[in-house]
Amino acid sequence: MSGVSFNEAILELPMVTLTIDGKKIEAPANTHVLQVALKNGIEIPHLCYHPELSVSGGCRLCIVEVEGYSQPVPSCGLACTDGLVITTQGERLYELRKNVLDLFISDHPLDCVICEKAGACLLQEYAYEYGIKETTYTPTISSTLYQDDNPFFIRDHQYCILCGRCVRMCDEIVGVHAIDFAKRGFETNIATPYDGPMIESTCVFCGNCVQVCPTAALMPVSRKDKGREWELDHKTTICGYCGVGCQLEYALKGDEILYAQASPDGPVNGELLCTKGRYGWDFVLSPERLTRPLIRRDLAYELGLTSEPWEQPDTSPLADRQPKIEDYFIPVDWEMALDLVASRLAATVNEHDPDSVVGLASARCTNEENYLFQKFIRAGIGTNNVDHCARL
């Protein structure tokens, strides 16, 4: 097994040196100033920019001063060139950004006190930073409330700031283009065809739009009325579904999961997930979960654990309706169950040979579990009859 280690993320690109806020910074030539600034820990406010998506330039918050330019320039679309001198803060920029935010706020309900996005809403964060309590203009909300009745996410147009992250996500990465801008000017909204419900669109409910939405316009249904951002713990793990190995982050309040999202640092998925990973975690809460060791009733009778005799029916469990588990099994404690399994397996080996036992490991269990399992089959039982459903 050979193979030279090679990090394909780093391609040899020509580097340039620019100055941001007096700091000399090296950056690859094809990158943009905002991207480089953020990477180097220099915060520039931005709403429509997202590292995974193409540049839009619509929010006008990331403007910076460039030496030699009379007007401030949005840094998201400004290519890094050698000798570029950038200033990201200053009185003029502060005033312009504050005024732009003021315009945003004039078209956004100030519901922060009851909004679940509070604490994670970028607009709120910037409004706080720039000291905007309320708009100095006439509040004019552009789109009326629109609720979609899907169980994945809530769409609420009145919170939408038209940054277009969702549209770009849906088109550029997910590739289904379920939504797009419709109409124009102040009437513009993010729409499915004919503003119909999501289910009638090409939407695949991956929720990547929800993840990149900077405000409360797109929110997971599962967190509704359940808690505010600062009450939540975030725990990172690996998705248990397919073999891609996406890192995801569960937001919990106590022991209750409120929503899942991609953990931005995931080496495979970045900020992306699919519908199963993002929304398919509630099976763990199912009342059907097995919570105690079980012994089948005929065996239990034989062992004297129950006085009711029972015979296993011939009907397949795959018959139309699955039988009830308690009709077939009775619960026992771990000691009893483990001893029984160990003794029966030992008896089989003793009576026949190790090759009469087969172990099926699992492609859904951890490396440690599978390792231990095959070690048990090989070193304990003494056979190579260990397989799993890699092929199935």
Binding site: A178, D180, T202
Partner: protein
């Protein structure tokens, strides 16, 4: 390798077997799309032709275009709603467009629009309930020298006043009722 390959290679045969409804107008639409080789980029041109053929853009037309050009429906909808030239409602049998260009505005075109709207009881941009008359406005039809200008059933009328326009429209609509009455009589 820095070069690109030129034209896309999937010359998929897009069937243009017309519309299941058997409406012949779809054949004309198919011809338009074929003329553009079913390229996605021809969306705007196809919408233009569709509106010309059908008079307005209905939802099934947009779906039809979306499928044949392989452009996402949301994008077709987004494009169609972006451009004010496209209408989603059928126009009336007779259509009057009042120019709202600067020259016409300065010479009082909004007064004419208002007068027509009141006289024929039709909101601006809408069609009368009987579907006979639509009153719309245009940004500028480029006849500023003759301001204020109106277009009635395709004919440009310059240097109009509210009264002259009302008379013009009345004439047109009266012919319509005459035809109707003759029809009933006959």
């Amino acid at each position: 390798m820095k070069t690109s390959s030129g034209s896309p290679t999937n010359k998929k045969q897009v069937k243009s077997e017309g519309h299941p409804s058997g409406d012949d107008r779809f054949k004309a639409l198919d011809r338009t799309m074929k003329r553009f080789n079913f390229e996605k980029d021809s969306l705007l041109e196809v919408l233009h032709d569709t509106q010309e053929i059908f008079g307005f853009l209905s939802d099934d037309l947009l779906i039809y275009i979306s499928t044949h050009l392989r452009v996402p429906l949301s994008q077709v909808y987004g494009v169609a709603t972006f451009y004010h030239f496209f209408t989603f409602e059928p126009l009336g049998k007779h259509n009057c467009i009042i120019c709202r260009g600067t020259a016409c505005h300065v010479k009082g075109s909004d007064v004419i629009t208002q007068a027509l709207s009141e006289e024929f009881a039709v909101p601006i941009g809408k069609t009368t309930e009987d579907g006979l008359f639509s009153l719309t406005t245009a940004r500028c039809i480029g006849s500023c020298g003759l301001a204020p200008v109106a277009v009635l059933n395709g004919a440009v009328h310059g240097k109009q006043t509210p009264q002259s326009m009302i008379t013009l429209v009345k004439d047109v609509l009266e012919q319509e009722t005459e035809v109707l009455e003759q029809g009933e009589a006959g």
